[in-house]
Each structure stands twice: as C-alpha cells, then as structure tokens.
Amino acid sequence: MVKSFIPTLCESEVTSEATYLKRRHFLSAGVAGALGVAAMPSFAASTPFEQKAAAAKTTYKVDEKLNSFEDITQYNNFYELGTAKTDPYKNADKLKTDPWSIEVGGLCAKPGKYHLEDILQPHTFEERIYRLRCVEAWSMVVPWLGFSLASLLKRFEPSSDAKYVAFHTLYDEGRPLPGQNRPVIRWPYREGLRIDEAMNPLSFMAVGLYGKTLPNQNGAPIRLVVPWKYGFKSIKSIVKIEFVKEQPKTSWNTLQSSEYGFYSNVNPKVNHPRWSQARERRIGELFKRETLMFNGYQEQVAHLYKNMDLTRFI
C-alpha cells in the first residue's frame, strides 16, 4: 500500500499537474499513516534510487509540452512484450527486473558481470527532457531520469580498438517474454553505436521517467536513449554491453537493411520506402508537423557525420 505512493516522493524538478496532485494525495496518505501505522518507518528511509531521483537536476530540456505519463507508458514499441502498441503496457508484469545484471565484455580493461546496483551506484541522476522520434513517424517529449552513457562506458575503460559498442536486450530462452515466443525478429534484440556517438554527451542511460522508476514497458530497469536517432536505436532492458572493433549486427538492420540503416539518424530528407520521414505526428496532436534534422539536435551531433554522405549511410 505505502509502496505505491513512494515514487511521488522522488520527484525531480519537473512536476506535471498530475504528479503534483498525486503528491498531495501522498501527503494526506502520509498523515493518515503517521497516525499509528507500524509500516511508516520503512517508507521514511527511502532507497538510494529514490534519494538520487529526488536530488536530480534537469540538465537538458526542450521547451515543448511534455507528453503525459499515460501516453508515454501505454503506447510503446517493445516487441518482447508484444507487437501491438498497447501490448507492452498490458504485459508489463511479465518482465522481471529484480535481480538484474549486465554483462560487460569485449575490448575493455574491466569486463565482467555487474549487478544493477553496482552499475548505478557511482552515478548521480539527472533529468533530461528529450524528443523521441519513432521511425513510424510519430514522436513524443519525454522527461527521462538517468545518467550519461559516456560516464558509464568510461568506467569499463574501453581500449582504443573499441570502435563500436553493442547492446543486447534480455532474452532468456528458457523463459521467453510473451513476444519472444514467436520469431518476429531474431532474439535477442540488438543495437549498437559508433564509439564517438556513444560518448557524445547527449547519449543517455535512462533508469526512470517523470522522476519515477522506469516502468517495465519503457525498458526497465535500464535503457539507452539516443535522441537524434529513430527510437528503435534506443534499446530497452539492457543485459549486455560489448566493446567491439567492427560495426555490430543490429536487429532491424538485419531484418530489412534498406529500411533501417545502422546509423538511423532522424533525417527528413532521406526518403524512406515505408513512411515519409519529412513529417511526424506528435502524440497528442492530430495533424503532422515538420521533422527536424537530427530530431533538432543538429548543433550537438552534426559534427559526428561531417564527411559522411547521409543519403548513403542511412
């Protein structure tokens, strides 16, 4: 009972109307609890996650209206939990995130299997309000909670030979997730970045949204967020990170390379065989709006692709 209210304690600076109201609800519940309920002490001592979430500062934001928590958590592409947009929300409880560990390997000085607690421990959390642009031509604005990918990767001391980073999503063959019972795509889901893309300050590891623990359908307990690339690059529920020399195989690219390039930078000028990428529908709006080059993050990332023909390297 008490547990369900706790997340509202760890609000970061950005507070939507809904969470604000919930917080009031929490306060009144807290008063009721203080009037003689034995469970109270357990909620007073919040976990390290909650403390860090509460202390998070907004370090990056776009001045656009946030999408609602409901929209962000009930309209997802997470094929491990089903291919319909509402499936991940419905099947969210099938994903077990505790215990969780990440296997780090490849060309680095500190490979190994790390518990999630140890992964998170040294990082302070920050909030970043990013646009998320799906290749299906819809978009959202999401307040993520987490830390920079670079700060995580540096801890494993990648060698100079590590030109790329590869990521895997959870896939337990003995206990597949509902969507993994059918080979819709080849499991496990794989993604990857060039090392300079991964080390770019915008690349982010999210562990929460709206100041709360990341809901399972959004890729709990830890996921990548690469805001200048199409959403499928932002791999969810990561269990493996590998430093490699060659460009790694990635899931959608393997399935249909003419549609989903390795880079998959948001680019309104590259003609896509399936969806026009010139425009997008912001969730919550009826009509489409113009898509921005690199999803509006040109200033931060355009230099990464200086000498590349982006019509060829899609």
Binding site: Y75, K85, W138, V184, L255, S276, R281, I283, K288
Partner: protein, 203 residues
C-alpha cells in the same frame, strides 16, 4: 415489412456496426494515444473485411443449398450492400490519411504514391472500386449486360491488391495478415471450376 426488406436492413445493420463501434470509441476516448493511427488501421481492416464477406456470399449460397428463388431474392443483395460498405470504409480510410497524415496536400499524396509501393497499390485498389460503385445500380447493370459481370469481377483483383497493400505495410508481425490472406485464398478456391465440379450439389 417484407422478408426482402428485413434481410436488406440486416445487411445495412451489419455494415454500419463497425462505424458505430468506431464512433463509440471516439466519443468515449477508446482510441488510445494515437487516435488517427487507430482509425486509419480500423477503417482499413473493416474495408477489407467487408470485401471478403461480400465475396463469401456467392459460395455460401451455393454450399448452403438455399432454395434458388430465396437466395437470389434475399442473399444476393448482400453482395452489393457489403460491397458498398467496403467502399464506405475505404473512403474513410483514404480521407483520414489525406486529411490528417497529408494535411490535404496533393503534392504529399503524389510523393507517397510515387515513392511507397504499398501506398501506390492501396491507392490503385481504391480507384478500381470507383467504377464498381458507379455501376452498382440496376440501370447500369442492364445497360452493360455481359460486360457488367466482367467489370465486377475486377473485385477479385481489388481484394488481392488490398492484401498486397496490407502485407507491404507490415514491419515484422504478419500473424493477423495470414487470416485475411487465408480467407481470400479459400474464397477464390471456391470459385475455381474444378472445385465447384468436385463438390457439385443440386441447387
């Protein structure tokens, strides 16, 4: 009210049912985070469903051994009624896309038709429905004679194009597509001479 009227109204009732359902979803906020996408997919599916059900009337009549007079009078009108509802849903499907996805910009429409094969195929299927709708009355039927039958057989092609349109827009999960494809395949097999001769029953 005659029996003929009752069966007609029943056909219309079935035809508007999905539309009522979609209106209810819209009114009560059941369309989800991306209502336009939901409406586009739903109207497309119902157009295809109506086409397939319309296509099922003739084989159903043959197999269920209805009294000939009865079926010609009461069941055959359903082919036309459901065919027209298929056009109704296809029109909604196209208009939602044209208004909300393309902001009524015919330049965007041309770009889409030119660059995206699944849209081209869907658009051709929609255009091919137009002459069928225009000749769906008794007068046109009489005026065209035998050519009317030939013309209306293009619906076999239209259904196939709609299925191609559907197939090409799927990213990875084909599971629901195969049901529609299987239904179409069965309905076409029933129309082969070999099949009808094999299972010939007196009408």
């Amino acid at each position: 009210m005659t029996v003929k009227n009752i069966t007609r109204w029943l056909g219309h009732f079935l035809g508007v049912l999905p539309a009522l359902y979609l209106v209810a979803l819209t009114v009560f906020g059941g369309l989800g985070a991306n209502p336009i996408e939901t409406l586009t997919h739903q109207t497309g599916r119902w157009a295809l469903t109506a086409l397939l059900v319309s296509l099922a009337i003739t084989p159903a009549v043959k197999w269920l051994r209805f009294n000939r007079k009865w079926h010609v009078k009461y069941l055959m009108p359903w082919r036309k009624i459901l065919g027209l509802y298929a056009f109704f849903y296809a029109t909604l499907h196209f208009l939602i896309y044209l208004i909300f996805d393309l902001s009524f910009d015919f330049g965007f429409l041309w770009a889409d038709v030119k660059d995206r094969p699944y849209i081209a195929v869907g658009f051709i299927a929609f255009c091919l429905l137009l002459p069928l709708v225009a000749t769906s009355n008794k007068k046109a039927q009489r005026a065209l004679g035998k050519r009317w039958i030939a013309l209306h057989r293009t619906v076999y092609l239209i259904d196939a194009l709609v299925l191609v349109h559907f197939f090409w827009l799927i990213r990875a999960d084909y599971s629901s597509f195969w049901w529609y494809a299987a239904a179409y395949a069965c309905l076409m097999i029933f129309r082969l001479k070999v099949t009808t001769q094999l299972f010939r029953r007196p009408l």
